[in-house]
Symmetry: C2
Subunit: 624 residues, 2 copies
Amino acid sequence: MRLEGGFWGPRLETNRRVTLPIQLEQCRKTGRIDAWRLTWKPGEPNPPHIFWDSDVGKWIEAAAYSLAQHPDPQLEAAIDEVVELMAAAQLPDGYLNSHYVAVEPQNRWTNLRDNHELYCAGHLMEGAVAYYQATGKRKFLNILCRYADHIAAVFGRDEGQLHGYCGHPEIELALVKLYRVTGEEGYLEQARYFIDERGTQPHYYDIEARMRGDDPGRYWAKTYEYLQAHAPFRQQDKVVGHAVRAMYLYSGAADVAAETGDLSLLEACKRLWEHVTTRRMYVTGGFGPTHTNEGFTFDYDLPNETAYAETCASIAFLFWSHRLLQIEGDSRYADEMERALYNGILSGVSLSGDRFFYANPLAVYPPAFANRGPTMGAVRQEWFDCACCPPNLARLLASLGGYIYSMDAQGIYVHLYVQGQAELQLPAGSVRIEQETEYPWNETVCLKVFPEKSLRFNLALRLPGWCRAPHARVNGEEINLHSLTRLGYAHVERQWQPGDMVELSLPMPVERIEAHPRVRMDAGRVALQRGPLVYCLEEADNGSDLHDLGLARGAEFMVEIDPALDGARVLVAQAMRRDISGWGGNLYRQTPSRQIRAQIKAVPYHLWGNRQVGEMLVWLRELG
Amino acid sequence: MRLEGGFWGPRLETNRRVTLPIQLEQCRKTGRIDAWRLTWKPGEPNPPHIFWDSDVGKWIEAAAYSLAQHPDPQLEAAIDEVVELMAAAQLPDGYLNSHYVAVEPQNRWTNLRDNHELYCAGHLMEGAVAYYQATGKRKFLNILCRYADHIAAVFGRDEGQLHGYCGHPEIELALVKLYRVTGEEGYLEQARYFIDERGTQPHYYDIEARMRGDDPGRYWAKTYEYLQAHAPFRQQDKVVGHAVRAMYLYSGAADVAAETGDLSLLEACKRLWEHVTTRRMYVTGGFGPTHTNEGFTFDYDLPNETAYAETCASIAFLFWSHRLLQIEGDSRYADEMERALYNGILSGVSLSGDRFFYANPLAVYPPAFANRGPTMGAVRQEWFDCACCPPNLARLLASLGGYIYSMDAQGIYVHLYVQGQAELQLPAGSVRIEQETEYPWNETVCLKVFPEKSLRFNLALRLPGWCRAPHARVNGEEINLHSLTRLGYAHVERQWQPGDMVELSLPMPVERIEAHPRVRMDAGRVALQRGPLVYCLEEADNGSDLHDLGLARGAEFMVEIDPALDGARVLVAQAMRRDISGWGGNLYRQTPSRQIRAQIKAVPYHLWGNRQVGEMLVWLRELG
């Protein structure tokens, strides 16, 4: 799948040309690469941190996806160099962790609850799988297989094994990837074990804490809900705790369900997905309203200014939704993937590709953000001490092509509309599909279908949930989408000839979105959406005190192209605001304020913060 | 001044009959009284806390005010018993502190920044002054004079003295009280010293921290703004930090300014008062928007649900405003006193007199309050570990009669309209004034004036700032208020005869209050006010999801008497809300919701939380 031109082409090129190199540079200069030399000694500054391996693993994964499309000997050499360091760092028993080996070798596997040891292993595995798939080189993969074998020996139900699992899920889905690429069923079994063991009694984190001499009752996070270990997975029915941990766990569970056909796992996944998307999801596809636990609070609690909505959580939600989509074939999963992708994920990286958001609030008032620190600030940062988000963005963007299509026995599913071309292998032959579209800026998608020869198959076109009146023509002839649609996909089954053309029209008027009446922060407010894009107001376009703008019910929007924002479609309308000049020194007054007209301009949420620091607002007050 | 009947009579009787006894009981059962026996030994539970003396001091002060009106031998005996314990506990050098003497005698005066030692001294002084004034007994006063003498010897500019001042202001105003009752100028000088020394360089808290072996740079509150010691007092122009500390400091400064005629101190006080009332005050007269520093953040930052707005801060603001009112004679000070009194202060105690709020938020959504702990919960509590607010309420209510009138050379000022009678001593003779009024429930105030003989003097009647069209008649004859009014007081100077009657009419339609456009939380919202009372909606009357109610601009209010709330005047109107039944499982949707009619009922803010636990909302959305 090659994505060129259109909406994504330039963003992916920036990812490759800017983001990947600067992230390697950040890994180098912060010590994350040299950590693998294991030369750190007690008393020295900058000890390898427990998170670092995951950052390197994710960066290699991102670089590998890029290599698969764009060979780059220098980049490949940089990875090989790190792989050599890892090979040398791996202990004879297969153990591999730059923090533990250098800093506290005596403490291996003593604090699964807090210390991310298996999480780091998982990210290295994902990197190794991707690098093997991109280059065919087995060295890195072999290292991680040895590590996975060691992990399988250490963790399990047998006597003498630790009955543990990671406080930060991730290894579960990584082990499934390792299983898929190696065919080793043990890795799948190990993933299943980690999911099945989680949250059982006697509780491993209680036992483990006591073995460390800690009182489990004094757990800093206070509840095992924080890491989704409060109950066995199949009994969980509410999305709780740390949002990224939650979404990685659910992704791994969906993988195991897909591979094993375990319906009880799948049911839990679907129940949790239903819960989060109907009760605990920002309109931007952000997750986790509070920084306190970097996660969830209670139903409908979606504060805008203090939203945490970590970039990683939205990415992990996309992973999870994509997995459920593959199993269920229901476009609702793709709808929410798309929501996250075009809003709460893409907001995580600047247009320039070198600045990142960790938290993605839905309202910014700079004085309130002054003391929040870099992860919760109003300005994208070059890097973070805990740098999970930047390489997560890089790997998602570099692998975006993998989310566009999927195949089943009957044919091809088109999940996302993205300019580019793909070679797809059906049992009866290969098919090239070329998409020409400026989607999501424009409503028209032209799909050209080139089977290697005339071929009968089903082309299932996703009809986005946000679109009220989609239309399609095949070779110029209107087709009745309604009659062809099942679970949100229009199934166009026919004898396809090379050069056949599907023109899909997805009208995207500006929509005013309401939040459920129980979302107390958004009552009397609307979010503006056009196609899959949620919009926001910025101080750069609208002046300060955005909260005081009010939009009349009937106000019409003009859609304009903004050259200053790389051709983004922006929305312009008339609104009202209070005349602040009449207030003088009063803080409160009885006389109603004079309202004055104000033209407003809304920009796509994912583009906010690319100009000067200032206010931002998604949920706009509606008048009347 | 006797306050009987009307609005306040029953509340003050509850204060005397319920609040005072249960607070003594709480002091006893929590160990605050027995602490004075100094029998606590290391290793025992419940060591006397650094705050405890202040609670006892405030309770004695409250009880003393009550005794002055209502002799009660049992209550007096209870106080005398505590005084005996204190007399025995006082060290030969005059030092008096139940925590330090029993728990860490070696650490006296080593942590003024954090440990409230002089603050406790101040509250004991206030108690001693009040008890002396109520009973004429000097023993408690003498104990505190000895302690004040000791303090004067320890703290000052001379060599060998500590150049310190308390992290929690309070002693400044207490020393002025001690000066006023004893005539000892040294106490006034000491108060002035504490104010003048505050925030000077080299900074005492830096020096003190180093002497303790602490790094001053690691001060937990991060900034001396927290305790208003970031700059010398006269240079302070913004109200910052911990709200109660701030208001006590400003009150002490106003006292010193009043006694010494120091205009630079007065100017600073007026500047700070102007700042807080035009930028950082809740419409309820609450202060301090965040629990983080129990205080101030930045201008116009007045979040409702997370408001701290400590009861003590509103009480201390009333103290401060009352002092400035005495100096300046400007009714704006009385207006804001009244705002705090009838809203953010009185909300601090239940109708039953035995439950207290520490924080006074302006919106409550119970699930968001579940984990906030007792001081920030949605339910009034019997007592608090840090129990500053309950006895502060008790002493304010017991002394309320002292805030109604004041005198100057020309006559009498009437600041607050309260049913009751007072004997006032003018140079030329005494005057009894009887107020008959249900204010603030009703708009009519009847003042009967009984000079002991025919007497010429000025009767200055406050015309509340909230009242657009006040009227008055003297002996049935309308007077032209406009021509008589200076600084918000109508000056009625005449030859008063016994039985002369002033009828004041203060029309109190229901007003919709707007907050300044920069208050981002209240944009598009109004607070309902009638007379000095701010209203709120409660779930008990309006069902849940109060945030979703919207009030049309033209909607009219009916004022009704609610027998279930002791005859409170409540407001009833028609509003709209969304029909939640149409939402099904959606979290977001494009179709505008159906609006349905909903009758709303608003109750006085100070009465919220007297029924079942539920939502509460002050700032109501306005439609259109």
